[in-house]
Symmetry: C2
Amino acid sequence: MQIVDENRAKAERAGLSERQNAVLESALKLLVDGGEKAVTTAGVARAANCSKESLYKWFGDRDGLLSAMISYQAGKVRTVEVGAETLTTDGLRKHLAAFALDLLDVLSGDVSLALNRLAIGQTVGRTAMRGARGSGPTLGRLLEERGRRQIGRRATMLLEAGRKAGLLAFDDADEAYGTLYGLIVTDAHLRMLLGFDPAALKKEFAGRAERAAASFLTLYGVGAMADA
Amino acid sequence: MQIVDENRAKAERAGLSERQNAVLESALKLLVDGGEKAVTTAGVARAANCSKESLYKWFGDRDGLLSAMISYQAGKVRTVEVGAETLTTDGLRKHLAAFALDLLDVLSGDVSLALNRLAIGQTVGRTAMRGARGSGPTLGRLLEERGRRQIGRRATMLLEAGRKAGLLAFDDADEAYGTLYGLIVTDAHLRMLLGFDPAALKKEFAGRAERAAASFLTLYGVGAMADA
DNA sequence: GCCGAACCGTACCGTACGGTACGCATTCGT
DNA sequence: ACGAATGCGTACCGTACGGTACGGTTCGGC
């Protein structure tokens, strides 16, 4: 049975079966409009028309299911590459604004918010590294790895391209990205996590993205003095 | 209700006795190093050496207890006023940096993080306005009102003072505050909520605060030239 | 057509928790 | 000094959930 487990583990990493994906989709739906406590094993089984026994067979335990939900959803991020050659100042601004809009769209998504709430709710302040089972990393760590890191890579690429084109000036790309992130998101993410209706914020996303891009260029564009 | 109760009267501003405050303190301690699921009625009662019956008498039900924890903790915010007259550019920068440092300190506090996790975990995506009991607003809304709004007022005051002194230029104070907030916090808050060790981030708080203040002045300072 | 594997539906178990009830100690007002 | 109120400790109840076991059913391989 170890062989079976190994095969399954590999399958989970490379992508689960259609049936399992459907189950995860159901679980995500439950999570989105019921919160974490709505994701009960019985509830998921009922919603997905599968048996609890299968759930435990596929995901080990409830934590495994939750982790699988995060990994599964994270597998949907698209990585848009940017043609690095023809970069003008205005083109860079547009790329920045587009990135900002995408970022805001991702963060304001129902599923994203629900998963972030889940991972945050799971987090414990004090040294939570209790590896009771093979749950591996914390859900929060998992979410950060698969979510933020991924989209951050795209931003870093864009910033590097801008620097190579002589349009941006910064020493630490991560720091610059942090600034960009802050200009774009401000506290919108936290407020949405706390229950603020995303629809109310979405209306100003476009303007916010434009302003963030412009501000970022003011701070890091060539001709501006970055450090004091 | 004579002279002896003078001290208690101050504590009872929020309608809570000393005993109840002690209970809330115990509950907060439990929350901080055990997460939400550690805050059980029996656990709080045991930790605070009181009976469950008293808990229910004082707070109604578990939700009432959680709300009381948030309100109680929020009652500790101090509002530092800024002398609006003698404002130079450098003085403003220092005030901004001080505010940034305070904000980061607050957000990285154990209790603050635990309460934010609690409120976020309690939040449900879909129209969460189901008031089961007299709990009134959502915990998230409560936290936002009492926490962010409060410290935001202080920042807004500072910004208005800067504008009145002719050192800052902006149309919308809230928008400017949002930018300031983003520059200061970036994604540090979210990462800490997800479990990232605050101690690791605290080391760079000072530098981050300085940079945020400088960047803000670059964006909103008159003439837009930060350094001199 | 048969066999085994996978799987569904359901019943079941142990536990943990929210909430209530009761008995007894302590305190406070009169 | 005495009765009432407050509150502690504990036992108790109902429920809900995580996890397991079992019988019946479908499906693919031989």
